[in-house]
């Protein structure tokens, strides 16, 4: 299968499972077309590994259109590769040059243990949401959708925060493996909307507590998360989370 004329050297992290150590393995891939997506290039490599009787490289992926948040490769030192505002699955080979060496590693964070090769366990994010990233409204409790007008600007801001796909690139990019951008996006979305007000204080406190319990690092405001975020979640959200958290801790009677 050779459709293009790019030849690349890949150095990919291989690790059998969570219990053993891994290492970078080198592979040559030839005949890559620049119209291929980065993951399709991996498909080509895997297909070849299988035909050579070797185990293909495990990597997470699903929708391949940049919205499910499942793909998670750390490419040449950057989460989701060289482009900004793009997930790995949307990255195309035209962003690379013939003869390039590409190093691919899994997300690295103590809170995201490697499952196999490039696949990591991000269930910590689910547990953070379960700790308070919701509005407690049982089905059937809702009033009419238009009963509560929301200023467009606030709604737009909430939407921008809600665009987070939970991929974990923020954690991967942060030198401290901090999950603040992820947590702040959800806290912000709900804090900006009137529906989120009743649980606002409790939410910030609970979600931060869960984030800390998962073993993520502390935020030192380097800003790498926001730069690498494929959905361009803004650092303003982290400031808002800080505000929400401190305000809730100090001023409220909660916690």
């Amino acid at each position: 299968m050779s459709e293009g004329n790019m030849n690349l050297t890949l150095k990919v992290w291989r690790q059998k499972n969570a219990k053993v150590n891994g290492s970078l393995e080198t592979y040559q891939v030839n005949g890559i077309s620049e119209d291929m997506s980065f993951l399709e290039m991996f498909d080509v490599l895997n297909e070849r590994l299988v035909s050579d009787g070797k185990e293909p490289i495990a990597f997470d992926h699903d929708c391949r259109e940049g919205i499910c948040g499942m793909c998670s490769m750390y490419i040449n030192g950057r989460p989701h590769g060289p482009l900004e505002a793009v997930t790995t699955c949307q990255l195309h080979m035209r962003s690379f040059k013939d003869g390039d060496t590409i190093v691919v590693e899994p997300w690295r964070a103590t809170a995201f243990p490697v499952i196999k090769d490039l696949v990591v366990d991000r269930s910590a994010f689910d547990r953070i949401i379960a700790s308070g990233g919701y509005i407690s409204v049982n089905t059937g409790n809702a009033q009419d959708g238009n009963a509560l007008p929301i200023p467009k600007e606030e709604a737009d801001k909430a939407f921008a925060a809600a665009a987070c796909i939970g991929c974990g690139a923020c954690v991967a990019a942060c030198k401290n493996a901090s999950a603040m951008l992820f947590v702040s996006a959800k806290v912000s979305q709900l804090a900006l909307l009137p529906q989120g007000q009743p649980e606002r204080e409790e939410r910030a406190i609970k979600m931060v507590a869960q984030m800390d319990a998962e073993g993520f690092g502390n935020c030192t405001n380097t800003g790498a998360c926001a730069i690498e975020c494929p959905k361009e979640i803004s650092l303003e959200n982290i400031a808002r989370l800080n505000r929400e958290y401190l305000g809730s801790s100090i001023a409220s009677t909660v916690g």
Binding site: W13, A177, G215, G217
Partner: protein
């Protein structure tokens, strides 16, 4: 756990402690610099030396200074503890990292450690000597009418129990002031190019530390606003990362150059 310890021991609370102590130290720097600018007065060190007396004897300032020492130590060791935690949050490192964040922001712990070493050297140079070593004294004779001051070194074995002796002679219209001559110690120390270099390096570290640190403190406290954050960043860069370190670095350079020119 009370709400306060719970808050302060959370990741955000820990950072808030860094932020608040950091901002306090930033304020200190402004005061320290404006006071030390008196080194540039051509008054034989009068302003500087009396300022040193004031700073070490006025009760409120003394209390604040103890807070200051504590905050420096706290900021340093708390920062190192956070750095330790942050490193633990990534137990396996990347083979290749291409950073998108600023160099300063990633190296706060190293810069801070350099600064801590610097502060120890600096305090050993001046603070320790001022408090514990028999520095020579200087006597200023001021003509009250003209304000002109004459500095006279006191004999080497001269010493006094109080920090400052001030005698006004209304008949001659003069005022005598005798204080420790820290100014002279400063100019002596900065004749040594090694010290000058150490101080300049220290100020580089300070500049980079504050380039990230000052504005980061605001972010940690939740201050991020499209209208005002650019201002905070501007202050962080122009005042704290550039102006203040240059101001401080100018002192050793000034004395060294002065020394070279034979004054």
């Amino acid at each position: 756990m009370s709400w306060l310890t719970k808050t302060l021991s959370s990741s955000i609370g820990k950072k808030v402690l860094m932020s608040l102590t950091g901002l306090f130290l930033c304020t200190f720097l402004v005061v320290h610099l404006s006071g030390n600018l008196q080194l540039f007065y051509k008054d034989g060190g009068y302003a500087f030396n009396t300022y040193a007396v004031f700073m070490t004897s006025f009760p409120l300032i003394k209390v604040i200074s103890y807070f200051n020492y504590f905050f420096i130590l706290f900021h340093a060791f708390w920062g190192l503890y956070l750095e330790y935690q942050n490193r633990k949050a990534r137990s396996v490192r990347y083979a290749v990292v291409r950073n998108s964040s600023s160099w300063s922001s990633r190296n706060m712990a190293i810069l801070g450690t350099v600064l801590l070493v610097y502060i120890v050297v600096h305090m050993g140079d001046f603070w320790y000597k001022y408090h514990n070593e028999p520095l020579p004294y200087v006597r200023y004779t001021e003509n009250v009418q003209t304000g002109v001051k004459l500095a006279t070194e006191m004999p080497a074995n001269y010493t006094q129990d109080v920090k400052k002796i001030e005698i006004s002679d209304f008949e001659t219209g003069t005022r005598l002031i005798i204080v420790k001559d820290l100014y002279k110690e400063v100019s002596r120390v900065f004749q040594n190019p090694v010290f000058v270099l150490i101080y300049i390096l220290g100020m580089f570290a300070l500049g980079f530390h504050l380039y990230h640190g000052f504005q980061s403190a605001f972010q940690t406290l939740g201050w991020n606003h499209p209208k005002y954050t650019p201002l905070v960043r501007g202050i962080s860069t122009w005042i704290f990362a550039i102006l203040i370190p240059i101001g401080f670095a100018a002192m050793p350079i000034f004395f060294y150059v002065k020394h070279l020119m034979g004054n």
